[in-house]
């Protein structure tokens, strides 16, 4: 009796982490985020022993802050990828919503108005993506590629190619939100922690999360079962826009200025973080914790290369190689599982 009660509680803990069968630790070690985390820890130990600066408080602070922006956007991206889609427009949405925040604050409005302008413009761009993809059944690749160009161009039009660095009466507060720290940890990293918990909860405990995975698994079956496929699909792109907007708001506060180039080519890093974190581009598989873990790996490798004195021009090569490697890893693991 007591033994079965104990087993039950173990199983319930296992329930929290995903949608798989095996229980407890065995379950966790079968997921990609776990192995990426192992790799991450090994790299950190290695770098810590080679370089004095790597594990310094200063470097850890900047590293966690740097990958926080990427990881926040990767949470939205992971959700999109789970449905079997992709969002190439996140970098441009960051540019557009960052400019919207900047122009609103520069015009003398309070910080909440800047936040609203930022998030609403980001969600509006996501809603356009979502509408075209969910209701007109257009390919996510094509639609978000179009939005990549449109949002960037709108950022240029709205900003008239100006840079904003004076943020009105709430300037100090705005800069403190994105650029400051709380209890020694950069604010964007706190936001990341909270959002990761929220997404983990949504994936596991909300019908919305359940439907996101169902659509990625078999959207036809989901539809037949009464899942509001179009509505959920559209919401996923709105959420992706929202996370891009949140990251943009924090990033502008941290940088202390914004131009229309904010977030340029960011989509590449974000997709890399999601995929390395275990999001399967075929849809149906993804992890909320995968976004920060994948983003951390991308950032740590970038940081390590810099500290090792590798020419920054090589960064793209490494990033690209990691995306391909992550997909390859997934393929190999998938084959073994069959």
């Amino acid at each position: 009796m007591s033994e079965s009660a104990e087993r039950r509680s173990v199983a319930d803990i296992a329930d929290v982490t995903g949608l798989q069968t095996e229980k407890g630790f065995r379950r966790i070690i079968n997921t990609q985020p776990f192995w990426v985390l192992v790799a991450l820890v090994l790299i950190c130990i290695l770098m810590g022993s080679i370089s004095d600066t790597f594990l310094s408080e200063r470097n850890l602070f900047t590293t966690t802050r740097n990958f926080a922006f990427m990881a926040i956007v990767a949470l939205g991206m992971t959700t999109v990828i789970v449905t079997g889609g992709i969002d190439l427009s996140v970098g441009s949405i960051m540019g557009l919503s960052g400019i919207m925040a900047g122009i609103t604050l520069a015009a003398g409005y309070p910080v909440w108005a800047g936040l609203a302008a930022c998030l609403l413009s980001a969600m509006a761009a996501g809603a356009v993506n979502g509408f075209l993809i969910a209701y007109l059944r257009m390919s996510p690749f094509v639609v978000t590629l179009g939005m990549l160009a449109i949002a960037r161009s709108l950022a240029l039009v709205i900003s008239n190619n100006r840079m904003f660095y004076e943020f009105g009466p709430d300037q100090a507060l705005f800069i403190a939100i994105g650029g400051g720290s709380t209890f020694g940890v950069a604010n964007p990293f706190w936001v990341l922690i909270i959002l990761t918990l929220v997404f983990a909860w949504l994936y596991r405990y909300s019908t919305w999360g359940r439907y996101v995975f169902a659509i990625g698994g078999n959207s036809e079956a989901a539809k037949l079962s009464g899942v509001p496929v179009e509505r959920v699909l559209m919401s996923v792109y709105v959420v992706s826009g929202l996370t891009a907007g949140i990251a943009a708001f924090l990033m502008v506060g941290w940088l202390g200025s914004v131009t229309n180039a904010l977030g340029q080519t960011y989509e590449l890093q974000v997709i890399a973080a999601s995929v390395i974190g275990g999001a399967n581009l075929m849809g149906g598989v993804g992890y909320a914790v995968g976004a920060p873990i994948g983003a951390a790996l991308v950032e740590v490798i970038r940081n390590s290369l810099l500290l090792a004195g590798v020419d920054p021009y090589w960064q793209g090569t490494f990033l690209g190689a990691f995306i391909i490697l992550a997909v390859l890893l997934e393929k190999v693991r998938g084959r073994r599982g069959e």
Partner: protein, 246 residues
């Protein structure tokens, strides 16, 4: 009154006439076998009843009332459950998640509603036990055998108390023992007043549980008679066209 009445149902897919003027009446608690060659239109007919797509022409009456379903949920709300031929499952979800897809059990704490995994696992386990299936609620459908997948699809129909259960080849992929369980389930459904339409290519199944058999050939209904007044030989002849009509 008839649970379901189809009047002059026709369905075209472009140039293909999948169904032509099919009439079919099903009374409460009746088990009707629907047979026919591949491509005869059986799946098309049950999909129309289940609200997957509307007929090109013809009327559907449920309990004497005309209905126009635009999506499967509407048919489900009227008490129609269906097991699809291709099963329509999400491979990446667990058995229990599939059983409850679209009608999850939720709990509420204050304003927050969340999935009650424990309740769903337990209910799914109870249904699988009832079906005498080895299926485990926590297993991913991806790693399941054909029979287990079929059990998951059938379990979906056990969540509600439907008037009519449509089963499109529910015994196609399963073992002899499990076939017996599905046939038992159909008998139990009948005893409790549920009507069943059983599509099957297996003559013994149809003759074991159905009281009536309807035969479709190239989209037309060519026979609709009591099992007692027919024979496997006659039905075979009707399916192949050796016998034109009966």
């Amino acid at each position: 009154m008839a649970v379901l009445e189809l009047r002059q149902i026709s369905k075209s897919f472009g140039a293909i006439r999948a169904l032509e003027n099919v009439d079919l009446t099903i009374e409460a608690g009746e088990v009707v076998g629907l047979m026919g060659d591949n491509g005869a239109g059986k799946s098309t007919l049950v999909k129309i009843i289940a609200g997957n797509f509307p007929p090109t022409s013809g009327k559907i009456l449920i309990d004497g009332e005309e209905v126009h379903f635009t999506k499967p949920v509407e048919a489900r709300r009227k008490g129609i459950e269906i097991v699809y031929q291709d099963l329509a499952l999400c491979d990446n979800l667990t058995a229990a998640a599939n059983v409850f897809l679209g009608r999850e059990i939720k709990r509420r704490v204050g304003p927050i509603r969340y999935l009650d995994h424990k309740a769903m696992y337990e209910r799914a386990a109870a249904i699988f036990a009832e079906l005498k299936s080895e299926t485990r609620p926590r297993d991913l459908v991806m790693r399941m055998s054909g029979g287990q997948r079929q059990a998951v699809a059938i379990a979906r129909t056990r969540l509600s108390d439907p008037k009519l259960v449509l089963m499109d080849e529910p015994t196609a992929a399963i073992s002899v023992r499990q076939v017996a369980e599905v046939l038992d389930l159909i008998r139990r459904l009948k005893e409790t007043g549920h009507a069943v339409v059983l599509i099957s290519h297996r003559m013994p199944d149809v003759f074991a549980v159905c009281e009536r058999v309807a035969v479709l050939r190239r989209g037309r209904k060519v026979a609709d008679k009591k099992i007692a007044d027919s024979s496997p030989e006659e039905v075979t002849a009707l399916i192949t066209g050796a016998l034109q009509e009966a």
